[in-house]
């Protein structure tokens, strides 16, 4: 099955507008193009540009049309369009197999098809059908889809700020004014929750996936505490980026699942969430244990647990059934949230 499209790359001349900008300053937008861009953006599909044009002229024109904001990492210049697509994919950190490219010129489409056969190519003549194409129609549209472009734009500003920052990464984090809000999962979050369990590989304590129904059952279950974490900073929202599923027994609190989006990898969110759970277990007077499965890609999660004071309960280096390892919190002393972020707990 072909993957859903995460990024659609547009040509400009005779694709977005009628005419060639170099020859005619008064090109006009194609009919209905603004609505199409707006709807794709709302669906959480990122939009970008690969166009042979003078960059400043083209950007000025897009601004004049009031559509420049929709495009992230636009590639306007004289290079190859396949190369531009590669560049956009690298900047966004998403695979080219989730890219589509729309252009009126068969030769441009052929070049992209030849170099990057995994990219879906679309003839600009079909632009009015874009919204009906199956690969451009996500299964569901979450709050995070709607905000996706803004989140990537905020991320771009953050990266620029980080690369020009003189000082350690902790000092940089302190300048961000991060707020981590943790709240019980609600029904409206379930689609995002499912998306997170499917998309998250590296920062995932078990790699297990759950059905929508299973996830839903944890909301009402008396034996479970199911939390979702949302992060924002002065540049804007990161969206809902973390999950914690706890199973509560008579004298034990078990972390069944801890995961967070790769976009917050360097923000210390895993440790902050564990601090909360450690405090909660202490408050309830319960032993704290965690399920961990080595998926080959989640060593960073294992290290997060170990450095917070979790230890293997079984004999060393011998996973049980399904590769499951049980870790128990044996740390000492009061654990504190990282000083560079504000932790907010929201009750339902």
């Amino acid at each position: 099955m072909s993957k859903k499209i995460k990024c659609l790359v547009w040509d400009l001349d005779n694709t977005i507008w009628d005419g060639v900008l170099l020859e005619d300053r008064n090109v006009v937008l194609k009919e209905g193009i603004t609505d199409i861009l707006e709807e794709l953006d709302r669906r959480g599909i990122l939009l970008s540009i690969a166009s042979r044009n003078d960059r400043d002229d083209a950007m000025r024109k897009l601004k004049e049309f009031g559509i420049d904001e929709y495009f992230i990492y636009p590639q306007i210049g004289w290079g190859s369009k396949a190369e531009s697509i590669r560049e956009i994919a690298a900047s966004l950190n998403i695979g080219t197999d989730t890219f589509a490219f729309i252009d009126d010129q068969p030769s441009e489409r052929e070049e992209v098809k030849f170099v990057l056969p995994e990219v879906m190519t679309i003839d600009a003549a079909e632009y009015k059908d874009l919204l009906h194409m199956e690969r451009l129609t996500p299964r569901f549209i979450t709050e995070d889809s709607r905000m996706r472009r803004k989140m990537y734009q905020a991320d771009l500003e953050r990266k620029t700020a980080e690369s020009s920052f003189k000082g350690s990464s902790e000092e940089f984090l302190a300048t961000l004014g991060m707020e981590l809000t943790v709240a019980p999962v609600e029904k409206g979050d379930l689609e995002r929750v499912e998306e997170l369990t499917i998309r998250t590989n590296q920062l995932n304590s078990t790699g297990l996936t759950y059905s929508y129904e299973e996830l839903e059952s944890y909301i009402t279950s008396k034996d479970h505490i199911f939390l979702i974490a949302e992060l924002k900073d002065k540049f804007g929202p990161y969206g809902k980026i973390g999950l914690v599923l706890l199973e509560e027994k008579k004298d034990e609190l078990r972390i069944k699942l801890l995961l967070m989006s790769c976009r917050v990898m360097t923000r210390g969110i895993g440790s902050a969430l564990l601090v909360y759970v450690i405090k909660l277990a202490a408050q309830k007077g319960k032993r704290l244990v965690a399920d961990f499965i080595d998926t080959g890609r989640n060593r960073v999660m294992y290290i997060t647990y170990k450095l917070m004071g979790f230890e293997e309960t079984g004999p060393d280096e011998s996973p049980g059934e399904n590769g499951m390892i049980e870790l128990e919190y044996r740390g000492s002393g009061e654990k504190e949230y990282p000083s560079y972020l504000k932790f907010i707990l929201k009750s339902s």
Binding site: G167, S168, S169, E170, M265, T266, R267, G268, G270, S271, R299, V300, M301, Y302, I303, T304, K306, L307, M308, G309, E311, E312, D316, E317, G331, P338, S339, Y340
Partner: protein, 83 residues
Amino acid sequence: MCYMDTREKIIEFFKSRGKGDGLTYDTDLFKGGYVNSLFALEMVVFLEETFKIKLKNKDINEKNFRTIDSIASVVEKYTQGDR
């Protein structure tokens, strides 16, 4: 062959990552906010590659990673046999 002190190599690694300010061999790395888990993972990879060792899971823990001194003792547990 001349060995740079294990601790020196480790502190050099922190410095190379912009984390050298005010860092001494016995600074509490967790309290000082020097270590997040991604950095810790990079450090584990650094230790394994630099010292040609394979850390066991049981060696990766809060106590062993609290200071540069304690990290160095774990590493030396593996490397001393070679000298």
